[in-house]
């Protein structure tokens, strides 16, 4: 896992926790009321039941709004704080990225250009434990450069370079896939992300 992904999950779990609690309470309240106040035999309509041809009296106080706004506002404040915190972490690399890789989306594949001019298509090799800066762009239509296992990605737009940094310590092979509909080849617009030991990476990179 990468630091960004860890942060992402931490925030996601915060949202999921608060969201589940809110959902269970609200839906629970609704279901409770439905069961509690079901029409039963021998029980008359409430006295203020709607009468044909008469505009019902208004009821319901605005006080409920303030209580609720306070509650929901508190939850949202927490979430917003968490979001801004996480965004800053996602946007700011812990140290200066060691390498900048240009990522070009095209119909239908990914091309990667390394600082020394080395170009690969369909496979991105990176050293483990080293922050890398991606400059993501597109050569034709709107794509989204997305690292599935890391829950992380950014749009690839023609004429613009979107910068994001990335790093992971775990050696292995992962999937890069396009996450924005880009034409007939969209479903197979994938590349492999290969994270290598730094020494092995250097051997491959230098030898290119």
């Amino acid at each position: 896992m990468s630091e960004i992904t860890a942060q992402w999950f931490q925030l996601f779990n915060l949202y999921a926790l608060l969201g589940t609690v809110a959902g269970v309470v609200v839906i629970g309240l609704l279901l409770f009321n439905i069961v509690r106040y079901r029409a039963r035999d021998g029980v008359n309509d409430p006295p203020d039941a709607p009468t044909p041809g008469r505009i019902p009296p208004e009821r319901g106080r605005i006080g409920a709004v303030w209580i609720l706004t306070g509650l929901v506002g508190g939850i949202l404040l927490t979430l917003t704080f968490g979001t801004i915190n996480t965004v800053n972490l996602i946007l700011t690399p812990p140290r200066k990225p060691a390498m900048t890789v240009e990522v070009h989306g095209f119909q239908w594949g990914w091309k990667f250009i390394y600082p020394n001019g080395k170009e690969t298509v369909g496979e991105l090799r990176l050293p483990a434990g080293t922050p890398v800066l991606f400059k993501v762009t597109s050569d034709d239509v709107f794509h989204k450069f997305h690292l599935i296992e890391f829950k992380y990605g950014v749009d690839a737009l023609p004429g613009r370079f979107n910068e994001v940094w990335f790093s992971t310590d775990i050696v292995g092979t992962y999937t890069i896939q396009c996450f924005e509909l880009c034409g007939a080849g969209h479903s197979n617009m994938k590349s492999r992300l290969v994270i290598m030991h730094p020494s092995e990476f250097q051997k491959w990179y230098g030898g290119g």
């Binding site: 706004t69 979430l79 829950k151 479903s187």
Partner: protein, 778 residues
């Protein structure tokens, strides 16, 4: 045309009665549900297992695109407006909408627009395949060359015209035709929902119109907005989502307010916090116009703007939370009857809560890095729009069906439908919600991805859900055959539509509904039988023919010119029919309708004002697109070099003068000096014509110099922006020609017509006052 009866085809082609139009909308929206639903089941089968080949990649893209467009724009919203057409005039005690022919026009434009968009399946290369968001530059001819995509864009333009006409119609109806004594706060919730919906439409759809016009120009004329990197992806994103986010609420509000209508009836208690719910919805609607950026979090836009958008988006959950809690509080102390409409209304509420909560996740910039483009997002908006909005409207359909048909549906079948619907729906929507890693709109996926189980369950659920609709159709069909008589008010509801027989007579009420100061609604018998009966069943050929003509013109533009010429002929003929029909609405004497806050404004004039509002948004969209492209461009021709300043200045002078001559014509009309009116109108017409001729010469000159639509961005933007303005001048001249003919024949009421037209004409002049400096001076 007295011999035409409700059993004839011609009656249904030419009807303008709001209840008939409502039924037409209802049938048509369910037809589009079948289209969109069949496509959905096709690609759900394709996705049920990895590496299936039921659909090819390109047919899959067409299927998801048309599914999205049809479901949002041709099924959900129109279903809401089917009920609105039928119910809103009844709920406010009116005998029809303010402009019945315009209402018929809305319907036919909607139908033909949908056919135009879907007909692409039968053209070479297939239908539009860009996704329902139609992202640039995939939407340009370079990347989506097939004619189907152009047809999709043109179908969208017809739909926008339909929506704009409806918007104006409902705004004028609700503001001018409420029963005497009925204040805005007295209105039933469904009418409130429609009022708030059309307000949002007034802002949102013109932005889509700007985007659609520019896209059509790019595809048909070869202009460069979306092909170029200066315009391109981000320009479309901004225009589309400025429409797209409010559109979500446009689709949602009718369903949500149908729930608000149904809950108190079956809970037997008045709605809790009606006023609060309405104001909360107003707040959410205003916010919805300011959050379009949350669809663009990962495009690399300004970080501060993104955080503002995050906070604004999260704020929206406060008003919606208030609405949800008010709904729940309505049930406290109630005596709840779980009839089919109530069951669907409650299910809608539960789905809406789930969709609302998962929506908060999407509002977070940070989470969006991982969630954008995944099935999580698909799950979220299916919970709000299908689970929330559509379920609410199905509840509304069951609720109002006895009113519309006069018959009861079968309660047991309704409950079986409910169970299958809810089980199928949640199997489908919850399992795609869990596919947090799976990209949207892939036509296949590998087995190793681990997405098989959720997809399999989703497809199973979707099949159960889709087939459950057969029960609905069977139930409704059966009720027409042998359903029990419903009587006027089977649910003991309070609102006005239940005070008249089911189905209501053509004129809606046997008299005039009046609301007394203490809230009692009574039907005052008519003083003389007549007035109200005069136009309620008025038949008109024009709306259907105008739409057919427009359809043929657009089809011809995309396919072959002869069809367009035939269309143009139909269009011209039908406009003449429209103008020649005698069409006057009759008011009852002695009763003052509720018109707050527009007491002093005449009906047509109010309609024109609302139209102008939409036009202003449209031109803002076009002008902002121009400015966007210009500021994104590295170089631009120096001020005054590209376009001839003398021509522009002359045209400015001509157009401004024509405003003065029109004012003079109006002054003469007020004084009853009819020869002066004619002179004024003729001069205005001549000046408008000179403006257009001058413009034609200017364009011809530019073309001769090699500056075509697609030669460079400065010229693309010039032709599209001033061309759209020129089209407005041309439309103005057509109406003016009608007024001139009329001024020679019938002078009665001409000053009102001149005044209404004047609003439009002055607006068109003001737009030019903006365009002239932008293109010629700077």
């Amino acid at each position: 045309m007295a011999e035409i009866t409700p059993n004839s085809v011609r009656y249904w082609l030419f009807t303008t009665n709001h209840k008939n139009i409502g039924i037409l909308y209802l049938v048509t929206s369910f037809y589009f549900l079948l289209v969109g639903g069949a496509l959905a089941l096709l690609f759900r089968l394709q996705l049920a297992m990895p590496q299936t080949e039921i659909l090819s990649a390109s047919s899959f893209n067409q299927a998801v695109t048309v599914h999205g467009l049809v479901m949002v724009l041709w099924f959900l919203s129109p279903l809401g407006f089917a009920l609105a057409n039928y119910i809103v005039p009844l709920q406010i005690g009116a005998n029809d909408l303010a402009f019945p022919r315009l209402n018929a026009l809305s319907y036919w434009l909607y139908l033909f627009g949908g056919i135009l968009a879907a007909i692409g399946f039968f053209t070479p290369g297939g239908a539009i395949d860009t996704g329902w968001t139609v992202y640039a530059p995939l939407n340009t001819a370079k990347y989506s060359p097939q004619v189907g995509t152009t047809l999709g864009a043109l179908g969208l333009l017809m739909l926008i015209a339909s929506v704009t006409a409806s918007t104006v119609n409902f705004l004028v109806t609700i503001f001018k035709m409420r029963a005497p004594g009925m204040r805005l706060m007295h209105m039933p919730m469904y009418t409130w929902g429609i009022l708030l919906t059309v307000f949002l439409m007034l802002f949102a759809f013109p932005a889509l119109a700007a985007a659609g016009l520019v896209l059509a120009a790019d595809r048909a004329l070869g202009t460069l907005y979306f092909v170029s990197q200066e315009g391109g992806a981000l320009l479309w994103d901004n225009l589309f989502w400025f429409f797209g986010h409010p559109e979500v609420y446009i689709v949602l509000l009718p369903g949500l307010f149908a729930v608000a209508e149904i809950l108190p009836v079956f809970a037997r208690r008045p709605l809790y916090g009606k006023r609060v719910i309405i104001w909360a919805t107003v707040a959410a609607s205003i916010l919805s116009l300011m959050v379009w950026g949350h669809h663009m979090f990962t495009t690399g836009v300004n970080p501060l703007w993104r955080e503002v958008m995050t906070v604004l988006t999260e704020t929206i959950s406060i008003p919606f939370g208030v609405i949800t809690i008010s709904f729940i509080l309505t049930l406290v102390g109630a005596s709840i009857r779980l009839k089919t409409p109530m069951l669907f209304a409650l299910a809608s509420l539960v789905h809406f809560i789930i969709g609302g909560i998962t929506g908060v996740f999407n509002s977070s910039v940070a989470l969006d890095y991982g969630l954008r483009g995944t099935y999580w997002v698909v799950g979220h908006f299916h919970y709000t729009l299908l689970g929330g909005a559509a379920t609410g409207l199905i509840a509304g359909l069951y609720y109002w069906w006895p009113k519309i048909s006069g018959r009861m549906y079968d309660e047991r079948l309704g409950r079986i439908h409910f169970i299958l619907y809810v089980v199928g729906y949640n199997l489908f929507a919850f399992s795609i919600h869990l596919l947090i890693d799976m990209p949207r709109r892939v036509y296949t996926y590998p087995l190793e991805s681990g997405w098989l189980l959720n997809n399999m369950v989703a497809t199973t659920g979707a099949l159960i859900f889709g087939l459950s609709f057969l029960l609905l159709f069977f139930n409704l069909y059966r009720s027409l055959r042998k359903g029990a008589e419903a009587g006027p008010n089977p649910w003991s509801s309070w609102s006005l539509e239940w005070l008249t027989p089911s189905p209501p007579p053509p004129e809606n009420y046997g008299g005039q509904p009046v609301v007394s100061a203490d809230g009692v609604i009574s039907i005052t018998p008519l003083p003389i039988d007549g007035g109200r009966h005069m136009h309620v069943n008025h038949l008109s050929k024009a709306p259907m023919l105008v739409s057919l003509g427009t359809f043929a013109v657009f089809l011809g533009l995309a396919l072959s010119m002869p069809i367009a010429l035939v269309g143009l002929a139909i269009l011209a003929a039908s406009l003449i029919i429209w103008a020649r029909e005698s069409w006057s609405s009759h008011h009852m004497e002695g009763l003052e309708f509720e018109k707050w806050p527009f007491q002093g404004v005449e009906k047509t004039r109010l309609g024109v004002w609302w139209l102008i509002f939409g036009e202003a948004v449209l031109f803002s969209g076009l002008i902002l697109s121009y400015l966007w492209v210009r500021f994104m461009s590295a170089s631009w021709p120096a001020a005054g070099t590209a376009f001839d300043l003398t021509t522009g200045a002359a045209n400015t002078f001509i157009l401004l003068t024509s405003s003065f001559t029109l004012v003079a014509a109006l002054a003469a009309a007020r004084l009853g000096r009819h020869s002066m009116v004619r002179a004024g109108l003729l001069t205005t017409f001549a000046l408008g014509l000179v403006f257009l001729l001058n413009k034609a010469l200017e364009w011809a000159h530019l073309f001769a110099e090699g500056h075509t639509f697609g030669s460079s961005l400065p010229f693309s933007t010039f032709y599209v922006t001033t061309g759209a303005h020129g089209a407005h001048v041309l439309a103005g001249l057509i109406v003016l020609a009608y007024l001139i003919v009329r001024s020679f024949r019938k002078t009665e009421g001409i000053h009102e017509s001149v005044e209404s037209f004047g609003i439009y004409w002055h607006f068109v002049d003001i737009v030019w006052v903006f365009l002239f400096p932008l293109f010629y001076l700077f």
